[in-house]
């Protein structure tokens, strides 16, 4: 098994010809294995950073000069895959919680698509992510992380029902720890995006 435990370099410069950065976002609840998935396919050790956002309070009359502001900090991990000498794909592990979503446009606009990582023991965590992605019209696939030999639980059909996923959303099993499995998740997503793009381009 090609596990993800081998040490990855922390710093590895990109090719000087690198010119196009692309993003894919992995969303899911706490502890579902987002970082594990990012790590298993990344060429660098996943890094983390954060975005601090100040928002003017909603519904406040600004003319009185008393604008309340709220500050939200969202931390996220990311990894990197050099696709060729010009193109580099960044994978972001993003939290699924509610407070994160108002930053989606700001942080992840222009993302190719998203992977919703699901833990069958906490399926409800994924509900919100699926709903928000549909709302943002971000194409996505759903990957069920079958770690801890989670063979006992639900079939993919049952999960599709539980999440009310439409038939055109790809749904697969994965083991986020395994590189080949993580790679298959990404390929499933990009395949799906490709199909969507082809359908769009065929339509006059």
């Amino acid at each position: 098994m090609d596990s993800a435990t081998s040490e990855l370099p922390a710093r590895m410069p990109l090719d000087d010809a690198a010119e196009t950065g692309l993003k894919i976002v992995v969303v899911g609840g706490f502890g579902v294995g987002k970082t594990t998935l990012v790590r298993s396919v990344s060429e660098i050790r996943p890094l983390n950073t954060e975005e601090v956002m100040t928002q003017a309070g909603v519904g406040v009359d600004e003319t009185d000069g008393l604008v309340t502001k709220t500050t939200t900090t969202v931390a996220f991990d990311f990894g990197r895959i050099s696709l060729n000498e010009r193109m580099v794909l960044y994978l972001f592990g993003a939290p699924g919680q509610e407070r994160f979503w108002f930053l989606w446009d700001r942080l992840f606009s222009g993302t190719l698509g998203a992977v919703v990582l699901v833990d069958t023991r906490r399926m409800s965590d994924s509900w919100y992510a699926v709903d928000r992605l549909e709302h943002h019209r971000t194409p996505f696939v759903v990957a069920v992380n079958r770690f801890d030999d989670d063979a006992s639980s639900f079939s993919l059909d049952e999960i599709r029902q539980a999440l009310s996923l439409s038939d055109d959303v790809p749904l697969i099993d994965c083991d986020a720890r395994v590189r080949s499995s993580g790679k298959r998740v990404l390929i499933t997503l990009v395949d799906h995006l490709y199909e969507l793009a082809m359908a769009r381009e065929m339509t006059p």
Binding site: G21, L47, A197
Partner: protein
Amino acid sequence: MIRKPVDIGFPDRLYMVTGGRSRADDTTFDLVTLIVSESAPTAGLQSEHVRILELCRHPTAVVEVSAELRMPVTVVRILLADLHAMGRISARHPHGSRPAASLPDSVLLKEVLHGLRNL
């Protein structure tokens, strides 16, 4: 993974780093905009600017600069805007980074697929 919080020290420091500014034009630097130094650091530059110029001798994404400097993306955008205004860095912008811009086309996606399959 042991998560190290981004070390922003005390808030005053961030304030000083950016000269009191709290936001840059968001649309200038996407998370995956690749930054490349156009010149070596020179005397008189603020230390954060020096670090960015050293880091970006090879193309480096905005988000990587943020992680390396351990500063929030917002702050890094401001520092990058300074360097850009001084002509010290150039920015290679991502494909279709504008919100609601055209979705990625099949040609680009084919290239991505090819790259992933060759991993």
